[in-house]
């Protein structure tokens, strides 16, 4: 299970990083979102992978999963969600204000070339 989990997380992170390095705002936003998914999965696994383990202490149970990463990942998901929403709106604002969805403003660079 560890190998599969690690492969999936690594692949997600690699795809996210690739997209985040693209030149247009939409792939960048999607890339950052994928990256945050990968990070959440990674964070979830930092306490070790367990199946069917109880997270809260109860009587008569001796097999536990580490509850702290679960709490951390919940926080990270909430924060990541808000950040994604913000960056989507910002990308639309970039499109509206600059009339292009390039991350680097092309017109400005060509203007500097001329001067």
């Amino acid at each position: 299970m560890e190998a599969l989990y690690a492969t999936v997380t690594g692949f997600l992170a690699a795809s996210g990083l690739y997209l985040a390095l693209r030149g247009r705002t939409f792939p960048v936003v999607v890339g950052l979102t994928l990256l945050s998914y990968a990070v959440n999965l990674f964070l979830f696994s930092t306490g070790g992978l367990t199946t069917n383990g109880a997270a809260v202490i109860q009587e008569g149970v001796s097999y536990y999963a580490d509850p702290l990463p679960q709490a951390l990942v919940l926080t990270a998901i909430v924060i990541g969600f808000a950040m994604t929403a913000f960056s989507v709106i910002l990308a639309m604002r970039v499109r509206g204000d600059l009339g292009s969805d390039q991350v680097n403003d092309q017109r400005e660079e060509s203007k500097e070339d001329k001067s």
Partner: protein, 505 residues
């Protein structure tokens, strides 16, 4: 009651920020009143905290009474009290300046400003490394919106770069935290420092990778050499009061490096003791050199100040990488000075550009300012202090730092620090003479400084002469902070010895 004072620098801005969410489009006056009262109260509270921390005792506040190492705690020592006090002082100057009219240019300026203060104060006070991440996010998301305050093409573009970079930074922060938690099994900084010292050698490599990743994240916030390219554009396009507050944001990164790499990976860390410092030394020196080049190349007053911030970050991190008591004391004094001076200069650049009409903040000869004597005086004091000419505070800070270098460190530190100061001096004299002396006669009828702007400028730029006069008490406090910071056993004693007895908070 005094015990609960530690959490007030976080709760007070939160409450006033929330208060301003009610009726968002209401008239601006009550919001200004709330913002000013809240920030002034914050300054008073943080001054009390500084006095309280000066007893030398390290106190902590256990949230929900969950004792460390399990619960989240806020830690008050000399350093965190000093940083909170510095933040509230800078914020008071910025809020005062914003009340002159910058707060009307977009919606809910004061609310966002207070929430950003909450994030910054939280980052300085927390003793839990995941909580540090949460407060970083709070201050970042408030800064995203503040950076865009007032709108405009330049701000949107700079804002997108800033947001995308910081989102990637947050992802790396989480990976680093995951690695640290996975190897040490704790998130409390002091507890982690103990676990690091006794870690199984086979896991050291993983821990080291996590610690380096964390350095990259903090380096991005602090803007050290390969990671600073976002800063000049973001800071020079931000509205003036926001840019002034951002002067403390890079210092949050510097503070985090100082805290993490002396408390967790400091002298007590066994095999990993002080392992990032040699790296940091070279990167900080390179940052210093490039900041000097950048300040000469700037064509705009605002980006000139942004490069001055990069010089100051280089200077501070050189001090951090020396990892001894004397450089720490020097850099804390320099940190107070540089934060207030660069914040004040951002405000001044805005005041100048408003009075020059079309020429704006560009460093060209054009129409003169309406009040050349007043603004010229501010510029003179601000420029003198930021490049480090005696008798102002910049000179004291730099001399303290130069003096603390060992003979082996002197050739690099002395030459680069002095050269970058020289670059700053040349750049500031050039832009000063272009703006004030080569100008055509200013329009007598032009816009004049409003009282609120004057108050902000006096607070931030006037702080420098005051800091020279009070250099004695301030250096006594920073010396004591440096001693406390390096006394690792005091932190262990203060934070971890209670949990057996059940704690007393």
């Amino acid at each position: 009651m005094m015990h609960h004072l530690i959490i007030l620098p976080i709760l007070l801005p939160l409450l006033s920020g929330l208060l301003m969410l009610v009726k968002r489009d209401s008239v601006v006056l009550p919001r200004r009143a709330i913002a000013l009262v809240s920030t002034a109260t914050l300054l008073a509270i943080s001054a009390v905290l500084v006095v309280q921390s000066d007893s030398g005792e390290i106190t902590y506040y256990a949230l929900g009474d969950w004792q460390p190492p399990f619960g989240i705690i806020l830690v008050l020592d000399r350093l965190s009290a000093l940083m909170v006090c510095l933040t509230s002082f800078l914020a008071l100057g910025s809020v005062a300046y914003a009340c002159a009219g910058d707060d009307r240019k977009g919606s809910n300026f004061h609310g966002l400003f207070q929430l950003q203060l909450m994030g910054i104060n939280g980052a300085f006070l927390t003793g839990d490394i995941f909580n540090l991440f949460v407060f970083f996010e709070v201050l970042l998301i408030a800064s995203y919106s503040l950076l865009m305050h007032g709108g405009g093409k330049d701000r949107t573009q700079a804002g997108f770069h800033y947001v995308a970079l910081n989102l990637a930074g947050s992802a790396m922060f989480l990976i680093a935290l995951g690695v640290l938690y996975g190897t040490t099994g704790t998130l409390n900084m002091v507890d982690m420092s103990q676990k690091v010292a006794t870690l199984d050698p086979s896991r050291l490599g993983l821990l080291k990778a996590g610690a380096f990743l964390l350095l990259v994240v903090f380096g991005l916030k602090a803007a050290i050499l390969p990671l600073y390219f976002w800063l000049p554009r973001a800071y020079s396009s931000a509205p003036a009061p926001v840019a002034a507050l951002f002067a403390i944001m890079t210092k949050v990164g510097v503070y985090a490096i100082l805290r993490i790499y002396t408390l967790i990976f400091g002298d007590s860390a066994g095999e990993l003791a002080n392992f990032v410092q040699p790296w940091l030394w070279w990167f900080a020196l390179a940052t210093l050199a490039l900041g000097g080049v950048g300040v000469l190349s700037a064509r705009d007053l605002r980006s000139q100040v942004a490069y001055l911030i990069i010089i100051s970050v280089g200077t501070l991190l050189v001090g951090v990488s020396m990892s001894r008591e004397a450089p720490f004391a020097a850099l804390l004094y320099y940190m107070i000075h540089t934060t207030l001076a660069t914040g004040g200069l951002f405000l001044l650049a805005d005041a100048i550009s408003e009075q020059r009409g079309k020429a704006g903040a560009r460093i060209v000869s054009g129409r003169g300012v309406t009040q050349p004597a007043l603004l010229g005086l501010f510029y003179f004091v601000g420029a003198m202090t930021v490049v480090g000419l005696p008798p102002l505070s910049g000179a004291i800070g730099k001399v303290l730092l130069l003096d603390s270098a060992l003979p082996s460190e002197q050739p690099w530190l002395w030459s680069l620090l002095l050269l970058s100061s020289l670059a700053g001096l040349i750049a500031m004299s050039r832009s000063g003479s272009a703006v004030f002396w080569k100008a055509t006669r200013g329009d007598e009828e032009g816009p004049r400084l409003k009282v609120a702007m004057l108050a902000g400028l006096i607070l931030l730029i006037g702080a420098s002469p005051v800091m020279s006069i009070l250099a004695g008490p301030i250096t006594r406090f920073t010396d004591a902070s440096a001693t406390q910071l390096l006394d690792h056993s005091a932190y262990v004693e203060a934070i971890l010895s209670h949990n057996v007895a059940g704690g007393d908070s």
